[in-house]
């Protein structure tokens, strides 16, 4: 019997296994006379936790803090404006991943741009840009690249192909961000342990989290994205506290090793370098937390080519928005005055409501029963 797609998720959503882990967690947590705040860094984890109702299975002393790992949520408004303005250029086809479509900047979202006549395309693979560029030789195709370490190699592979095949009408606007720098920024808060984003580690290896137990004294468990994965990982974290350990452990062993995908890393390093600073929506400036095209590839860099029309003025969120405090675990979406009223997925005022993986959006969609 061959491997089927369902083999990748059926067992990892098994009711009996989830219930068994809930029991173990409850028992172990009862041996602790303290609360544990666990930050799931990645929006994919937030989505799993909320969709499968996992907080309802947690003992009273285990809490989730929903982290900043959603690539469109953390994109500052001025950069969303870049996408909008580029798409409105006469001879431009703006290509990006689906998550970007609804995110409103100060002029509107890409969906609005499209309804005003802009040519905006959403692709599943950046490589689709090659086909679009070939079909429209008279247009400039700009790939608005978003995502963490997980999606960065796909962009690098496209750049590699564009250069090797001498494609003359594809350009890049790079918004790739990196996880460890943001985690380090948040680590001194009331977070006790991290659920590490595993797809990031498939690329970068588990080694990127080694400083957290060592330097910050916070355990990290690199977790898969299915409910059984998350439950097992929570169990591993609680166990560490029971046993008085603080370590980096990998639950998602079926795809993660210490070194990661070294070929992908090499490709990334060939084309990208760290930005000095990147402003994370809701959090603020984090040093060396994002990538840009190396200067030798400036001729492909839409941020350089279109610098005259792209604003650099920082745009802050609505003053009632408390996304920054939510991301640090100091507040809960429900503590926010505008949650679900003025701020909704259809009209997000702040970063956490922007994509379905943001904490507020996940609460709005799934969380009202908590």
């Amino acid at each position: 019997m061959g491997l089927e797609l369902k083999n990748f998720y059926d067992d990892f959503r098994d009711a009996k296994t989830i219930k068994a882990y809930a029991k173990v967690i409850k028992k172990d947590a009862s041996e602790l006379n303290r609360d544990i705040n666990i930050m799931e860094v990645c929006g994919g984890h937030t989505h799993t936790i909320m969709k499968y109702g996992l907080p309802q299975l947690m003992p009273k002393n285990i809490h989730f803090i929903h982290g900043p790992g959603c690539p469109v949520c953390i994109m500052p408004k001025e950069r969303i404006d870049h996408a909008y303005l580029l798409s409105m250029q006469e001879d431009v086809i703006l290509v990006t991943l689906g998550d970007m479509i609804k995110v409103p900047g100060s002029h509107g979202s890409l969906q609005d741009a499209r309804s005003k006549g802009a040519d905006v395309r959403f692709v599943y693979s950046p490589m689709d840009c090659l086909k679009i560029a070939k079909e429209h030789p008279d247009k400039k195709v700009i790939f608005f690249a978003i995502g963490f370490e997980t999606t960065t190699p796909m962009t690098a592979a496209l750049i590699d192909t564009v250069i090797k095949k001498e494609v003359s009408n594809i350009y890049f606007h790079i918004n790739h961000v990196t996880v460890p720098e943001a985690m380090a920024m948040l680590a001194p808060s009331k977070i006790d342990a991290f659920l590490g984003p595993s797809h990031v580690s498939v690329i970068s290896g588990s080694k990127i989290y080694e400083p957290f137990p060592e330097k910050f004294n916070k355990p990290v468990v690199v977790s898969g994205f299915e409910p059984v994965d998350v439950m097992q990982s929570i169990g591993m974290i609680v166990k560490q506290f029971v046993e008085g350990r603080c370590a980096l452990e990998v639950e998602y062993k079926r795809a993660v090793n210490r070194e990661g995908n070294v070929m992908a890393q090499a490709l990334n390093n060939k084309y990208f370098e760290q930005r000095e600073h990147f402003r994370w929506r809701g959090i603020g400036d984090i040093a060396k937390s994002a990538l840009k095209l190396k200067d030798v590839f400036a001729h492909l860099d839409a941020e350089v080519i279109y610098q005259d029309i792209l604003p650099t003025q920082e745009i802050d969120d609505h003053k009632l928005c408390i996304c920054g405090e939510i991301l640090k675990g100091e507040k809960n979406p429900k503590d926010c005055k505008v949650f679900g009223t003025a701020c909704k997925p259809s009209n997000p005022l702040g970063s956490c409501m922007v994509s379905s993986e943001g904490a507020c959006a996940a609460y709005y969609k799934y969380g009202n029963l908590l």
């Binding site: 996992l54 609005d112 499209r114 995502g147």
Partner: protein, 332 residues
């Protein structure tokens, strides 16, 4: 509301409803329209009357084509009010340059589907527009049917009703997505597109008193259940693992980040009946090949009025929301 129309306004979900309420209902306000049923009940309750336009791309897809869809869509809206489809109109808007052979293929599948319903097209209109004004061909059908069982309504669900789904959900939406340009997915998936009147007729012939019926088109089962919960001012509680979803649809949902219950169907309906008649209704439906996996998925309660609650197999619960936005994938 936005100042311009976006694709989200046609999603069968929240934005779509907002647009309809704030523009069309506001202007056309009347008692029949405000019932918000699949088809209007007119002429002293004797006739059902409905219209639908079809713009699907691609025109031909696994399991059906735009022609079959255009007949099924309107006939099913009538069937969902317990009416036998009788007379239809057919309007087509065709783009200059469209192939006549393809048009004949479309009209032929319309003819076959009409026969299956025992209905006929009695009036029509044809418009041809310059290249680029429409995408190949758009079809509108409007239909009249004879009501066979009165009193079926989305506004009447009560605490003794249970919820039945006629077959596995999401096949049409998943098929269309897989067939769109750029996806390059290969699968055995077929649209569920089918005329539903035979199944409805069998339920009525078996003497089952139907509370509400709705085919789960755009917005899928999520939209139907949410509309019912609101219109009847009740809570609907669903056991998630009881909702039938094929492995293929599950796989596409996994790859693209969709919820099967929010995907469109074109031959799948949701049925509310009194719990005393539920087993019998399921038995009747299971005699049809197309609804052999019909099953009870939930019940009406008062737990969270106007909301739909999904129960997981491991004892957690969450709300099932009305679908919002354009159907889009997540990236990581």
């Amino acid at each position: 509301m936005n100042t311009t129309i976006t694709l989200a306004h046609g999603n069968g979900g929240e934005e779509n409803n907002e647009l309809i309420s704030k523009v069309f209902y506001k202007a056309f306000k009347n008692k029949i329209l405000e019932q918000r049923e699949d088809a209007a009940i007119i002429h002293g309750g004797e006739l059902a009357f409905s219209t639908d336009s079809f713009t699907v791309s691609p025109l031909f897809f696994a399991g059906a084509d735009i022609g079959k869809l255009a007949i099924c869509g309107t006939c099913n809206d009538l069937a969902m009010m317990g009416a036998k489809p009788k007379y239809l109109t057919c309007s087509v808007i065709i783009e200059e340059g469209f192939s006549i052979a393809e048009l004949e293929r479309i009209v032929d599948s319309m003819k076959q589907e009409l026969e299956l319903n025992g209905a006929m097209v009695v009036s029509g209109d044809t418009k041809v527009v310059p290249k680029g004004s429409v995408d190949k061909i758009f079809i509108n059908t409007t239909g009249v049917g004879e009501v066979q069982q009165k009193g079926i309504s989305s506004n009447n669900l009560g605490k003794d009703d249970v919820i039945i789904i006629s077959r596995d959900v999401g096949c049409h939406g998943a098929t269309i997505f897989a067939a769109r340009e750029g996806m390059e997915l290969s699968s055995d998936l077929k649209s569920d597109c089918a005329s539903l009147f035979p199944q409805v007729q069998a339920l009525m012939d078996a003497g089952i008193k139907i509370t509400a019926l709705r085919d789960a088109t755009r917005g899928g089962v999520s939209a139907v259940l949410n509309e019912w919960a609101k219109q009847s001012n009740i809570c609907i509680e669903v056991e998630e693992e009881r909702v039938p979803v094929s492995d293929e649809v599950k796989g596409i949902c996994e790859l693209l980040g969709f919820e099967a219950m929010s995907l469109a169907n074109e031959g799948t309906f949701v049925l509310a009946v009194n719990k005393a008649e539920a087993e019998k209704a399921v038995e009747v439906l299971q005699t049809f090949e197309k609804s052999h996996n019909a099953t009870i998925v939930g019940k009406v309660s008062t737990a969270y009025v106007q909301r739909v609650v999904l129960h997981s197999a491991w004892g957690t619960k969450r709300f099932l929301e009305m679908p919002t936005g354009e159907l889009l994938p997540r990236i990581c």
